[in-house]
Symmetry: C2
């Protein structure tokens, strides 16, 4: 698989995810329309769909067709979107822009944004628990349990809490590691595991996917921190230097830019080495690690 092949793989998967996400929410004018408009506004705000594509690529790496993986792919994106809406609220980061567009509460007001986040989170579990002919109910239950754990108070939400508490304090590597392993890492790790579990992977394959997810998740967050320092509004869709201005705990703040860059590179190489063991079905995962490392926004 060459770079152009990865690009067409990503484009094809993104299209499938987009279509499945369209189906995953009530129509915009379903009663009460205010909430469905807000949910759709944020879900279709131009995200790259990296997380759902990771679910699909992980399932494909263990030999699954794509179709039965789509509900789980939607579920992780719904959870990711809810976490962004709540993160942007005045009580949290108080952000006016996300991906170059006004944030949900700037458009729909705080109350509807709060409820839209709640509804997207709830919907994730509705979508994942829907009756799926090709899937084993016990595996689906396991996937739900893993997703709920990854998104919960000892996963994504735990990461948010420690991130908030760390603001404005000197960043220790231990704290930065916790924040990133939880706030970003736990959901990305869950993408890989959900794909592996629902795709019918064995224990060994699941262990490889899990470690790949951990390495990729950390590399993703480090490049995110680096882009916040060196990126521009054009490619990021938000202002750069925001983390530093807020005194956020980040890798560049903690290790310096050069060491952070090297660490991201090493993690991606590790991830690539790991999925080599899964054979050519894991080619997309192999190349995705390079894509994450070299992304510009």
């Amino acid at each position: 698989m060459r770079t152009t092949e990865l690009e067409s793989y990503l484009a094809a998967r993104r299209q499938m995810v987009q279509a499945a996400l369209e189906e995953s929410l009530p129509a915009e004018d379903s009663y009460p329309p205010a909430i469905h408009r807000a949910m759709r506004y944020s879900l279709f705000a131009g995200g790259k769909r990296l997380r759902p594509i990771l679910v699909l690529a992980a399932g494909e790496a263990v030999g699954s067709p794509v179709e039965p993986l789509l509900p789980a792919a939607c579920a992780v994106e719904l959870i990711h979107t809810y976490s962004l809406i709540h993160d942007d609220l005045p009580a949290m980061d108080n952000d006016d822009y996300r991906r170059g567009r006004l944030t949900c509460h700037k458009v729909f007001g705080e109350a509807i944004a709060l409820l839209a986040g709640d509804a997207l989170l709830t919907r994730a579990f509705a979508v994942l628990s829907q009756d799926q002919p090709g899937l084993n109910p016990a595996r689906t239950l396991q996937a739900i349990a893993e997703l709920a754990a990854a998104a919960g108070s000892q996963g994504l939400i735990g990461g948010q809490v420690v991130d908030m508490e760390a603001e404005g304090k000197p960043a220790t590597l231990e704290v930065v590691n916790y924040i990133h392993a939880h706030k970003t890492g736990s959901l990305i790790r869950a993408c890989l595991r959900l794909g592996g579990i629902l795709g019918g992977g064995n224990e060994e394959q699941l262990a490889v996917l899990t470690r790949y997810g951990e390495a990729l998740g950390l590399a993703f967050q480090i490049t995110d921190d680096i882009l916040d320092v060196v990126g521009d509004f054009q490619s990021m869709g938000k202002k750069g230097g925001v983390d530093a201005a807020r005194g956020k705990a980040t890798y560049p703040a903690c290790l310096g830019l050069e060491v952070a860059r090297r660490l991201a590179r090493e993690l991606c190489l590790e991830a690539q080495g790991l999925v080599r063991n899964l054979g050519s079905a894991a080619d997309p995962l192999f190349h995705l690690a390079g894509y994450v490392l070299n992304r510009q926004g």
Copy 2:
């Protein structure tokens, strides 16, 4: 079953629920402690545990032992608690007190209260999807799907949205019906259905439980509205007359106090007539309908 028997049934079930809820959350000092303290503060704030007891009573009515119903009982209470925390936030009802205690955000701040709500909602699905030896995975999946639908944008959250939108406007019966059928009704209906589904009930039993849940949920909300008009701080744990002061859409505002009282009574009688069909195993449900009608807080 006499009144005293119902009381001892409720006390026994409440104790089981309380113990299961204790186990359903990470310990208070689990990292990060701020979130776990806030989650426990609101979950153990003296709720009557009506919803989880309805799950148990519905399962018992179709012949199930109590034990396998406990995760679902916890899940509905976790969702109920999250909805109260978010409902009390400044962006929503901006309430300082709930059940006579300071609300979550008054004690822990808005950001932690928001995240504690998110975490309780997420935890509901973690608890419900946990591996349960006595349960059929396909039925558990169905229960998860039903709970997610009941709590979502066309259930509980939809009811919140319409409730907000209706504030300060003349209350039509149609709007009040929608609000109550969704904001309160859909979760209570789900309690009955979850108990019936996980308890192994057949289609006919499930239909009876569903209609019982709809009638009881509406009666519950009407008595809640009435108590807001005639109750006092002592028994309600919050100020009376709040709904009227806010211009909330309620049954007494819409129908007058006497008609609202009569409607609540008729609904409870209907609920009681329905569960007579399920035999003596449904005695607790029968008497619970009377309890809801006559409650003082």
